[in-house]
Each structure stands twice: as structure tokens, then as C-alpha cells.
């Protein structure tokens, strides 16, 4: 076999090099291969070297063939993932370390965004989890009532007493029905010391067949069967019987009744639409046998049979109303009553079913078991969280693309060295995933730190579920997805560079992607400005509410709760407190002009006439004591307040101006007129009650400003849930002390609870206050993140234009001129953002304010203020970098040229 000569081999090496075969390892191998093949060919065919060589080259497929082999080899070698990943990671870490400033801003911005998102996601999950714990939660419904009668339109979560029993008896679809009644506070004692319990309720024994609350002791099926028995929560059991078995023990309520504990249940969790520590047997109260269909005082829940449909059942309700409520309406409204006529006049008595899982987010009716939330908040929070995350991601993309020119050379060299585009994409994606994972880790720390603050704000007890694998899975998934999405655009953008252009130096990428970057900045500031306008508007409305003339004096009124506990000592207690000259007046009552207090109403018409649709007015019935108007600082416009001097006041009434107007009187002629209502026994049509108007009180707001002032009457009765005292301004703490001492004297062992009327008034708007805070916090966060981005972007532009600035300065540009030059670009974007944000914000605020009957004007000033705020903050952010660039000595920037 002929051996190839040295020259021949040299020829082959040179030729293959020129054909682009460069890869270490493969190159030598192929040379040997070709040499061997040529030698074989020469010996078998007796051809000359050069001819054999060309034949062998042809079997490879020529130059393309070699390159293909080379390419394929690189790919199959690189498929060994670990090595490659390690390489990507090393390079990524080096790059991130080299660019500390941008890395920091990226991570910080994204972490804030993710932390907000995380918290809000927890909040939303919690909101959506309400009442889902019960085994048959999809079959549990609450019966709601809609009542419309004349001007009165009531949406209630309550039903008449006989509703539950009727449903169970008449409809096979209903598996179980149960009622709650009188969800209020009570006072209990075991021996001497009494405690006030805020979460007590009466319930039918079947209630645990609907809500399967786990029992720790006792039998849920029999727990509430006997009168004067009750089931209590673990919390209550631990409070009254620490270290003892509570089952079978007794507690004594304030009225002297002894209650036997027949069950101890696990504390009801917070994501439940009701919470009770004491559930008392409803059979203990005679009222539970009430047969009236016109009063609504019971909350009725039903569990449907497995195959029953709620709609089918609701369709049968009108007939039930006709059968049971019809006769009672007829006896109340007179002989000529017919249900058709009743309805044709626009009146309504309609019962509906609401799925128990809908209550927390969708129900806002009179007589709810507790304060519900609203799905609007869930949407609002969700949107805001999404926006903030978006702002953070935009920062990320903007910074990465802006920095691209710094890395263009790197891309060019990598490509020349044989990097494929997919390698570069992977490299950049890994960098961005690293950043995103870092941000998520930081975000967990941030979220963990601000959680307590958020809980306070949102009235929740949320915590990060560190033990849940789903939580970690979500986080890891979130980090990867965010990293990939945020890195996708920059990585494809960068990897598309052509090495020839880049290495020649004629790609200045900083400006090429300017339009997209500009749009993203506009979007960021659009969100920020909308949030700022929202914040200002909500606070304006709150301010308006707080300072609006509300018709009574909410300041300096002390309310002592649970006055009934003093029994016959009550008046003596009141008199003794009043003997203190710092207390100006006091009044025993159950009603206060803030919502959340008991309400009831009744229909009235002018005495001497028969009741008709037109002349009947439904008045709020407020049972009050003497000096009520004086104590609460309302204004009598005609007549007088109730007074001890007039014994006849027990059949007197004080009306508000709205009631006077609706009954057809005027302020001047109302006093002395008489009005009539049905007597206590609704079945006796002629049992009327006549009252004389003794005074007219100026309209005052007794509900939230969302509502109009309705007709209202004050009646002198012996209701005694609380005593209101008006006191001198300065010594609030002393006054409380002395009132408390007096209370202790008259009711030893009874808990003393008090509040101030202005606080209760403030609480009426706690939803608005919360909304205000939340808007404020998120607006601040949005602006911080957006400004972080802007800061880095300006830094980048300034860096890129260092030489330009140097030359301008040499040619005589002033510092201020250069600052303007640098700020102009982004300033313009913020102006555009403002122009786009103003209408959106206006629309949103308009929609929100629509729910208020009394609302503030949101003038142009608010928008201008928001615009200036955003612009000012943005300008401050930019100015640091601009001024620094402008002040730099041109010698430094131009020296290297």
C-alpha cells in the first residue's frame, strides 16, 4: 500500500482548512480518514494522488458536506446537557456580576412586583375559599327575601320564622332546613365574673346537619334538641373551663338562665361567612314557633337533596307565598286586598336561594351574619397586582434590550466562533431566569416581612404557606415562566444580530428598539398615573364624608354598651353619671345614627284615614329614651325633644323632615298631628295604634352617604342596649375612668364596654378607608418600580451619549441645556402617558362615585396634580443621572478618542 508523501498530506490539511474544517478533534480525525481512503483508492485503482483525493472528497459531499459533518458533530457533542448548562451558568453569573447596577435594579424591581403579586394572590385565594369546607357546600343555600312595599324596597338575608319548617315539609327537594336567630352579644358567667360574648346565636338543632362543623365533644345530632342547651367553640370552652371538660357543665346568661353545654366544636375558621362561639338551642325561645310571614327575623339555610335543582325549587316559591303569606297580608291590608292587585302596584314579596359559597363575595343585604367582602375587591386587587408585575417585567425587558449594545460585540464574537442562534437564546434565557429566581427569593422575604402589615389593612390572618408543596411549585413555576417571558424578547432580539454588522461597529442598538421601549415606558407611567388619580379621588371622597354636615354632632359622645346588663339599676347609674358636671346629657337607647346598629321599621299613615297604598309611609322605628336629640346633637326644627315633664310622650313621636314631607305635612303644621300604625297583633285589622307628633328633627344621615336619608321616627320606648353620654371635650380619658367606676359600682363583675360615636361613624367608611390605603400603597409601589426602571434607562442613555455630551460641552453647551436634552426624551413619554391616563382614570372614578348619593367633585385639579406628581417624581429620578452626565468633565469622555 502506498504511503502518502509529506507534501500530499500538507496539501490535504491546507485544502480542508480552506473548506472551513476547523473543529478540534474532528479535523485531525478526518485528515487521517481521507488519507487512508486516498491511499486505498490509489492502490486499488492506480490513480494519481490528486484524482483519488477528489473522488474521496466527493464522497463527503464537497465543502458543504464537511461543514455539515462539522455542524452535526458540534450539535451531538453539545447535547451533553450538564456541561453546557454549567457553561451557561458561569457566563450568566459573570455577566450579572459585571453589571451590578442593572442587576440590582432588575432584581429589586421584579422582587417588589412579585411580592405584591404573591400577597394579593394569597388574599384572593383566601377570598375564594369561603364556605367551601362543608362536605355538601354545593348543595347548601340561604333563603333571601326581597320585599317591596310602597316606597320601601328591602333586600334581606332574613326570612319569616315558619319558612324553614314549611320548606322542609312541603318540598321533597329540601333535605334539611335550619334557622339562625338573633345573632348578637350576650353576657355569660360561670360563677362570679361575667364576660361579654360578641359571637352568640340561636339555632335549630338541624343546623349541624347542614354545616358539618367538627365536634370535639358531644353529639352534633342531639346537641341543640333540648331547651336551654348550647354548643360552644373550643375557644369559649378554654376560656370558661381551662383544663376541664366543658361538656355537661353549665353557664349562666345575664338574664339568669342556666345553659347546659351539650357540645364543643372546633373553632369556626376565618374563611367562613359567619363566626360564633356560642350556638344556643332555638327551642329555648318561644318566638321560634312564630307563624307570621310578614316579619323577617330568621336566617334560613337549606340543604337540597342530591338530585334537586335550586332553580326548580325557586320556581315553586310564588305559590308558597300565595298560600301562606297571602292570608296574612289580606288581614293586615283589609278586605279588598288581593295578591294580584298587590303585585300590579309594583309591590313584591319574593324569596330566592343563594348558594352558600356565593355569600361572602356576592351578597350585601340587610341582616347579613357578618361583614361580607365584595367580588369587586377581588377583581380590583387582582388587576392591580397584575399591573405591578407587568411594570416590573417591562423594566426587565427594557433594561435588557437597552443594554444590548454593550453585548452586541459579545454576540458577534460568539457567532463567529460558531455559536448557533439557539445557543445564544439559551444563554440569555438562562441569565434572565437566574435574575427572576433571585427576585422570587427576595420576593418571598419581602412578602414575609410585610404580611403582618397587609393583614392589618385587609383584616385578614394570612400567612405564607411554607409547608404547602403547591406554594413552592407555584413559586418555582412562576419564577421560570417570568424569567422565560421576560427574557424572551431580549434574547431573540440580541441573538438576531448579524456578526458582520456588529463587529464593524455600525449597530447602535440603544436607539433601534426605541419605539418599543418608549411604548413600554408610556404604559408603565399610564398605570402609575391612573393609580395616583385613584388615590387622590378616594381620599377626596373620604374627606368629603368626614367633613360633610351630617345633621348630628358625632364628636364627644361616649357610648356605654350592654346597658341592659344593669337591669333595674340602669336609671340610677345614668343619674349618677349625669351628676358629674363634665357630662352634659345622657340618653338610653338601642339606636344610633351609624350603620351596623339594629334597625326596624313599620308603616304609618295619618290618623283618621284608612290605610292605602298612597298614604302609607314606612318609617324607621327608633326606640329612644329622654334627651336623645339633645345628647346626639341633632336639631329640633319644630316642637320639642322627649322630656320627663310630659307623661304623654309615651304616645308621642318625633319625625325627621323627610318623614314629615312624605306623610303630607309641612314642618310648621306637623306638630300636634296624629299618625296611625297597625297594633302589635297583625291578625286583628282594627287594632290600630295612634301617636301624636311632638317634634320635627332636622334630617340627619343615619346610613352611609351611599344612601339617601329615609323617613324616620323616634319613639319613646324602653329599649336599653346602650347609653349615650355627651361630655366635655378635654377630659375624655378622665370621663371614661369615672363612668367606668360608676359602672363597677352598679354592676360589679359586669364587663364595661364603651366606644365613641365618631369612631363608629368612621368605621362606617372603613371600606373606603381601606380602598384609599390600598390605592396609596400600590400607587407608591408602581411609581417606585417604574422609576427604578427610568433611573436605569437614563443612566444607560447618559452612558451611551457620554461622547456626544463631551463634544457639546466643548462646543459651548450649558449644563442646563444638556440636562434638558437628556430629560426631554423620557419627559415626552410621560406626557403621552398622562394624556392617555387622564380619560381612563376619569372613567374609573366616575364609576366608583356613582354608588354615592352624596359625592365630592373631582375637578381638573386632581388630574393636573396627579400628572405633576408623576412628572415631578420621574424628573427627579432622571435629573440625578442627567446632571451627573452634564457636569462631567469633557476631557475625560473625549480623551480616549
Amino acid at each position: 500500500m502506498p504511503e502518502l508523501s509529506k507534501e500530499n498530506i500538507d496539501y490535504i490539511i491546507k485544502d480542508l482548512y480552506q473548506r472551513g474544517l476547523l473543529l478540534d478533534g474532528l479535523q485531525e480525525e478526518l485528515i487521517d480518514h481521507i488519507c487512508s481512503a486516498v491511499e486505498d483508492d490509489m492502490s486499488s485503482s492506480k490513480r494519481k494522488f490528486i484524482d483519488s483525493y477528489h473522488i474521496v472528497i466527493a464522497t463527503f459531499g464537497g465543502t458543504e458536506g464537511f461543514q455539515e459533518i462539522q455542524h452535526q458533530t458540534i450539535q451531538s457533542e453539545n447535547s451533553k446537557l450538564i456541561d453546557m448548562l454549567q457553561n451557561y451558568f458561569t457566563i450568566a453569573f459573570r455577566n450579572l456580576k459585571k453589571q451590578k447596577f442593572y442587576t440590582l435594579i432588575n432584581i429589586a424591581g421584579l422582587a417588589i412586583g412579585v411580592a405584591s403579586c404573591l400577597i394579593i394572590l394569597l388574599y384572593i385565594t383566601n377570598e375564594l375559599s369561603y364556605d367551601k369546607r362543608y362536605t355538601d357546600h354545593d348543595r347548601i343555600y340561604r333563603v333571601d327575601t326581597e320585599m317591596k312595599f310602597g316606597d320601601n324596597h328591602l333586600l334581606m338575608a332574613n326570612t319569616p320564622a315558619p319558612m324553614a319548617e314549611t320548606l322542609r315539609k312541603d318540598f321533597p327537594e329540601v333535605e334539611v332546613a335550619a334557622r339562625f336567630w338573633n345573632n348578637a352579644s350576650m353576657i355569660f358567667r360561670r360563677t362570679e365574673e361575667s364576660f361579654k360574648e360578641n359571637y352568640t346565636v340561636y339555632a335549630d338543632s338541624s343546623v349541624f346537619r347542614i354545616f358539618d362543623i367538627p365536634f370535639l365533644a358531644g353529639d352534633p345530632r342531639t346537641a341543640l334538641k333540648e331547651p336551654n342547651t348550647m354548643a360552644i367553640s373550643k375557644k369559649a370552652a378554654d376560656k370558661y373551663f381551662p383544663g376541664e371538660q366543658a361538656l355537661g357543665q353549665t353557664l349562666i346568661s345575664n338574664d339568669g338562665q342556666v345553659w347546659k353545654i351539650t357540645g364543643v366544636y372546633e373553632n369556626i375558621e376565618s374563611n367562613n361567612h359567619f363566626y360564633f362561639d356560642f350556638i344556643l338551642a332555638l327551642v329555648s325561645v318561644d318566638y321560634h314557633r312564630d307563624t307570621g310571614w310578614l316579619g323577617n327575623n330568621f336566617t334560613t339555610y337549606i340543604k337540597l337533596a342530591k338530585d334537586a335543582k335550586a332553580e326548580d325549587l325557586v320556581a315553586k316559591f310564588p305559590k308558597m307565598v300565595l298560600t301562606y303569606a297571602g292570608p296574612q297580608l289580606k288581614s293586615a291590608l283589609g278586605a279588598d286586598f288581593s295578591f294580584e292587585k298587590f303585585e300590579s302596584q309594583g309591590n313584591k314579596l319574593v324569596f330566592t336561594l343563594r348558594p352558600v359559597t356565593d355569600i361572602h363575595l356576592h351578597s350585601d343585604r340587610m341582616g347579613e351574619m357578618g361583614a361580607n367582602s365584595s367580588i369587586t375587591y377581588v377583581y380590583l386587587f387582582g388587576t392591580i397586582a397584575g399591573f405591578i408585575l407587568l411594570i416590573a417585567c417591562i423594566n426587565f425587558m427594557n433594561l435588557s434590550t437597552a443594554r444590548s449594545s454593550n453585548r452586541a460585540k459579545e454576540v458577534g464574537i460568539r457567532k463567529v466562533m460558531g455559536s448557533l442562534r439557539s445557543h445564544l437564546v439559551r444563554q440569555f434565557l438562562i441569565e434572565s431566569v437566574l435574575l427572576s429566581v433571585g427576585s422570587f427569593l427576595l420576593a418571598i422575604v419581602i412578602a414575609w416581612m410585610v404580611m403582618p402589615m397587609f393583614n392589618e389593612l385587609a383584616l385578614k390572618q394570612l400567612s405564607l404557606p411554607f409547608a404547602s408543596p403547591v406554594f413552592w411549585l407555584l413559586l418555582i413555576g412562576g419564577a421560570l415562566i417570568t424569567g422565560i417571558f421576560a427574557g424572551l424578547y431580549p434574547s431573540f432580539f440580541l441573538s438576531a444580530f448579524r456578526p458582520v454588522n456588529v463587529l464593524k461597529g455600525n449597530v447602535s442598538m440603544g436607539t433601534k428598539s426605541g419605539i418599543i421601549r418608549g411604548a413600554l415606558v408610556v404604559f408603565q407611567f399610564w398605570i402609575s398615573i391612573v393609580l395616583v388619580v385613584g388615590t387622590i379621588a378616594v381620599n377626596r371622597q373620604l374627606d368629603y364624608i368626614q367633613t360633610k354636615k351630617i345633621g348630628f354632632n358625632k364628636d364627644q359622645v361616649l357610648i356605654v354598651h350592654d346597658a341592659y346588663a344593669l337591669n333595674d339599676q340602669l336609671h340610677a347609674f345614668k343619674d349618677e353619671v349625669l351628676s358629674d358636671n363634665r357630662i352634659k346629657s345622657g340618653s338610653i337607647s338601642s339606636f344610633l345614627p351609624v350603620n351596623g346598629f339594629h334597625r326596624s321599621d313599620n308603616v304609618y299613615w295619618p290618623a283618621g284615614k284608612s290605610p292605602t297604598e298612597e298614604n302609607m309611609v314606612s318609617l324607621q322605628n327608633w326606640g329612644v329614651g329622654h334627651d336623645y336629640v339633645k345628647t346626639l346633637g341633632m336639631k329640633i326644627v319644630q316642637g320639642r325633644d322627649f322630656s320627663n315633664d310630659f307623661l304623654s310622650d309615651s304616645s308621642g313621636v318625633i319625625l325627621n323632615e323627610t318623614a314629615v314631607r312624605m306623610l303630607g305635612y309641612t314642618n310648621e303644621n306637623a306638630v300636634g298631628q296624629r299618625i296611625t300604625t297597625f297594633g302589635a297583633d297583625a291578625s286583628d285589622a282594627k287594632n290600630y295604634l295612634v301617636l301624636t307628633i311632638v317634634g320635627v328633627v332636622e334630617d340627619f344621615h343615619f346610613e352611609s352617604l351611599r344612601q339617601n336619608i329615609g323617613p324616620l321616627g323616634l319613639f319613646l320606648t324602653n329599649t336599653r342596649n346602650m347609653i349615650a353620654f355627651r361630655f366635655e371635650a378635654k377630659e375624655a380619658q378622665d370621663v371614661i375612668k369615672s363612668v367606668e367606676n360608676t359602672w363597677k359600682k352598679f354592676g360589679p363583675g359586669l364587663p364595661f364596654e364603651y366606644s365613641f360615636l365618631d369612631e363608629a361613624f368612621g368605621r362606617m367608611y372603613s371600606a373606603e378607608q381601606r380602598l384609599g390605603y390600598i390605592f396609596f400603597i400600590f400607587a407608591v409601589l408602581a411609581i417606585i418600580i417604574a422609576c427604578l426602571g427610568l433611573f436605569a434607562l437614563t443612566a444607560f442613555t447618559a452612558e451611551q451619549r457620554t461622547k456626544e455630551i463631551g463634544i457639546r460641552k466643548v462646543l459651548g453647551a450649558s449644563v442646563s441645556g444638556i440636562v434638558v436634552l437628556l430629560s426631554k426624551e423620557f419627559g415626552k413619554l410621560i406626557l403621552i402617558a398622562f394624556a392617555l391616563a387622564a380619560p381612563a382614570a376619569w372613567y374609573g372614578i366616575d364609576w366608583w362615585l356613582e354608588s354615592y348619593t352624596y359625592k365630592t367633585e373631582i375637578g381638573v385639579a386632581v388630574y393636573i396634580l396627579a400628572g405633576i406628581t408623576a412628572f415631578g417624581i420621574a424628573w427627579l429620578t432622571m435629573s440625578y443621572q442627567s446632571i451627573r452626565a452634564a457636569l462631567a468633565n469633557p476631557v475625560k469622555s473625549l480623551r480616549s478618542e
Partner: protein
């Protein structure tokens, strides 16, 4: 000549088996040996062989030895222990495959 479509999935098996039987071999030698064994009916293309060899190397199934012969460098491939196991498995697997194909295609072989 067998069609390259048919050969595609068997390349690695052939390479592994040849290396198993002969110990140390270099690229050209492998092509020649396969040609010889198949009476010229299987021609391994260089474009398929070398990437495949490099892949096997990257996966740790073969290792290489470099020998200087004058001006040229010759790279020998030999199986590592996981490579030997894999070679055996692949052959068994392929025999199975053939018998399956025989029943699928309803043909008789000796």
C-alpha cells in the same frame, strides 16, 4: 446497497457491535470493516459516522486513544464498560426486532 432510510436507526448498533468485536478502531477502519462484513451493501457515510462517534464519546460510551503516525494523527475509538453493556443490549434488542418484523411482514427466514 441498502437504503439509508433503513440504516438510520441501526447506525449506533452497528458501530457499537463492530467496536465490541474488534476492540480499538479508527473511523476509516470502521467504514471499511462494515463494508467488508456486508459485502459492500452497507456503506457508512462519514457525515453520519463522525457525529455519531462524537456523540457516543460525549455520552461516555466510547473513549479515544490518539496515536501519532508520521505527519498524521490517528484517533482510535474503544468501548467503555457502559458502552460494552449497551452494545450487547442493542444487539439483543435488534434481534428481537427482526423476529418481530418477521411475524409482522409474514416472511420466512432460515
Amino acid at each position: 446497497m441498502h437504503s439509508s432510510e433503513l440504516l438510520k436507526g441501526t447506525l449506533q448498533t452497528i458501530v457499537l457491535k463492530v467496536l465490541k468485536d474488534h476492540g480499538r478502531m479508527y473511523g476509516y477502519e470502521i467504514t471499511q470493516r462494515v463494508k467488508e462484513l456486508s459485502d459492500g451493501r452497507i456503506l457508512l457515510t462519514e457525515g453520519a459516522l463522525y457525529p455519531s462517534l462524537h456523540k457516543l464519546e460525549a455520552e461516555g460510551l466510547v473513549k479515544t486513544e490518539i496515536v501519532n503516525i508520521g505527519k498524521r494523527i490517528r484517533k482510535y475509538y474503544l468501548l467503555t464498560s457502559p458502552g460494552k453493556i449497551l452494545a450487547k443490549d442493542r444487539v439483543t434488542e435488534f434481534v428481537d426486532f427482526i423476529s418481530t418484523m418477521r411475524s409482522v411482514l409474514q416472511v420466512k427466514m432460515n
